[in-house]
């Protein structure tokens, strides 16, 4: 019990400091209030034109497609992460040493930072855009199953952190991990479902995507939010896909821990 309370105290302290630190740059976050709706307007006209001769495309109606892009934007604000950039910078500059000496796992510290950072995103990006999408664009942004949607978004939040952190750890071997980061971000951009629903990809690729972690970052939480999941012709109930997502997060977390332990054996630092 004490262990848990101590962890919660650490999360609260780090998250609060991160929130205050980034609050100084809140107008940077507020750029999203312009950018998010503008991108959405483009998507609105693209898909309205594309659906002009069709009622459904790959099993999705126009209203679902618009909700898809609205929810995709909003979930992006809640799960956004740059732990990879942060970690590779700490390793490259040698500043990781100061974290390695602390009595706290650096990934846990990164998680606490992310919580503070995304709470800011919740207030300055998520809520204003939710308001715009709902009341200005009249898009249905109500989750089909609120509780499952919250769980799925939280799992996506963790998944994004674990994946990015693992990519960031390549800096322990490569020092300059920018190339790997950019390739990974590119793959995630294409295969997470942020660009277009994954059901639009060829069937072979959809089957492959079932075994990759990308869909759990964006596509799965969006479909859980909308209330139906389908990929590669496989339909799952919401509890089933959220269960799958939880297993995937656990697997990546274990893999991340394994890589972390290997990294610690490799890491050498001089001076603090």
């Amino acid at each position: 019990m004490n262990f848990l309370l101590n962890k919660l105290r650490v999360i609260k302290a780090v998250a609060l400091v991160t929130y205050k630190e980034w609050s100084a740059y809140r107008t940077h976050a507020m750029v999203s209030i312009f950018v998010g709706p503008v991108y959405f307007i483009v998507q609105y006209f693209i898909w309205t034109a594309v659906y002009s001769g069709n009622t459904t495309l790959n099993g999705m109606e126009l209203s679902q497609m618009l909700s898809y892009f609205g929810v995709s934007t909003l979930i992006g604000y809640l799960t956004m992460d740059f732990a990879d950039w942060n970690l590779q910078m700490l390793v490259r500059t040698g500043r990781f040493l100061t974290f390695a000496l602390r009595p706290i796992h650096h990934r846990f510290f990164a998680l606490s930072q992310k919580i503070g950072h995304r709470v800011l995103g919740l207030f300055f990006e998520f809520l204003p855009c939710l308001f715009i999408f709902t009341f200005l664009f009249k898009i249905n942004m109500r989750p089909a199953y609120s509780a499952w949607a919250i769980i799925s978004i939280f799992l996506a939040f963790l998944m994004n952190l674990y994946l990015n952190y693992t990519i960031g750890m390549t800096a322990f071997w490569l020092v300059q991990a920018n190339g790997v980061r950019r390739v990974y971000l590119l793959l995630q951009g294409i295969f997470s479902g942020a660009l277009i629903p994954l059901v639009f990809f060829p069937k072979v690729l959809q089957r492959l995507l079932l075994f990759l972690p990308f869909q759990y970052v964006t596509y799965v939480p969006i479909m859980v939010y909308i209330g139906k999941y389908n990929l590669a012709g496989i339909t799952m109930s919401i509890p089933e896909i959220v269960g799958m997502q939880a297993i995937a997060v656990l697997t990546i977390a274990l893999f991340s821990e394994l890589v972390y332990r290997m990294s610690m054996k490799r890491f050498t630092g001089v001076g603090a």
Binding site: V38, Y39, I41, V42, Y51, G53, L57, N58, L186
Partner: protein, 261 residues
């Protein structure tokens, strides 16, 4: 005077090439990733047409033509002007803009020349390949169409230059905001698609206020024989927009107050 500026520009290009050659692998990787991340939009178009849907009145290759021209223009802009924002922002944050201001050359020219970056060449090549593929699938192109295309394409490049300079000018007031490009990228996003899919008020905005339609749509329309008088009227806002970018940047330099670098 002009000779001096041309000589400086050539020297800057040589330095940029030398820098790219020093870090060859990084340069190639950078060019490749930039190219791949910019061809995501054609990928969406391919997936839409692959699912049996379409943009009404536009074939797959016509839309790809718009997007290939947009990609080439983005590449050229990346090489020639895009570095101005980051260089300006960096100098303002460091307080080192004074060093540029005391040089015996125009500040804007120096910033443009010294930030030539060939990592955008992958985009130009990739866009050109896509352009050739799309064009080969479309009808006959006459010399008149090509001439129209060249004029409109160059105007699109000038719009990109105007956007880069407005972004750089914004950096004087909104110090250190790395999200400034996102604002303009989101507006440029309209220029990647056929303009008749948008509401009239939006296509008016993208043709005459911030003329991003000139980057891809109007030049493509010229090659497809779909260009109308609106494209020529839109040339005027393109000139005004570019001039506005130059004026705004120079005005912000004029207002700039350094504290000694």
């Amino acid at each position: 005077m002009l000779k001096k500026y041309i000589r400086i520009y050539i020297e800057c290009i040589k330095i940029s090439i030398a820098a790219a050659l020093s870090y060859r692998l990084n340069f190639l990787l950078d060019s490749f990733i930039t190219l791949v991340s910019n061809i995501l939009f054609p990928l969406v178009t391919l997936l839409i047409y692959g699912s049996g849907a379409e943009f009404p009145g536009w074939s797959l290759y016509e839309v790809l033509l718009i997007q290939s021209i947009f990609t080439m223009a983005t590449g050229i802009s990346r090489i020639l002007f895009d570095g101005v924002l980051w260089a300006t922002m960096g100098h303002i944050i460091d307080g080192s803009l004074e060093i540029i201001l005391i040089k015996p050359v125009d500040c804007l020219f120096y910033l443009i020349a010294s930030t030539v970056d060939f990592s955008g060449s992958g985009l130009v090549v990739g866009g050109a390949v896509m352009f050739a593929i799309a064009l080969s699938q479309l009808g006959q192109v006459t010399i008149w169409m090509v001439l129209q295309f060249i004029v409109l394409f160059l105007s699109g490049i000038f719009v990109m230059m105007g956007i880069s300079l407005i972004m750089a000018a914004t950096a004087f007031k909104w110090v250190g905001n790395s999200r400034i490009p996102e604002i303009f990228e989101s507006i440029k996003y309209f220029g990647r698609y056929p303009q008749d899919i948008f509401h009239k008020s939006i296509s008016t905005f993208t043709s005459f206020i911030i003329p991003v339609a000139m980057i891809g749509f109007f030049p493509a329309a010229a090659l497809l024989g779909k260009v109308n008088h609106l494209a020529y009227i839109a040339l005027i806002p393109c000139i005004v927009f570019t001039w506005g970018g130059v004026y705004l940047f120079k005005h912000m330099v004029h207002l700039y107050e350094g504290v000694g670098g």
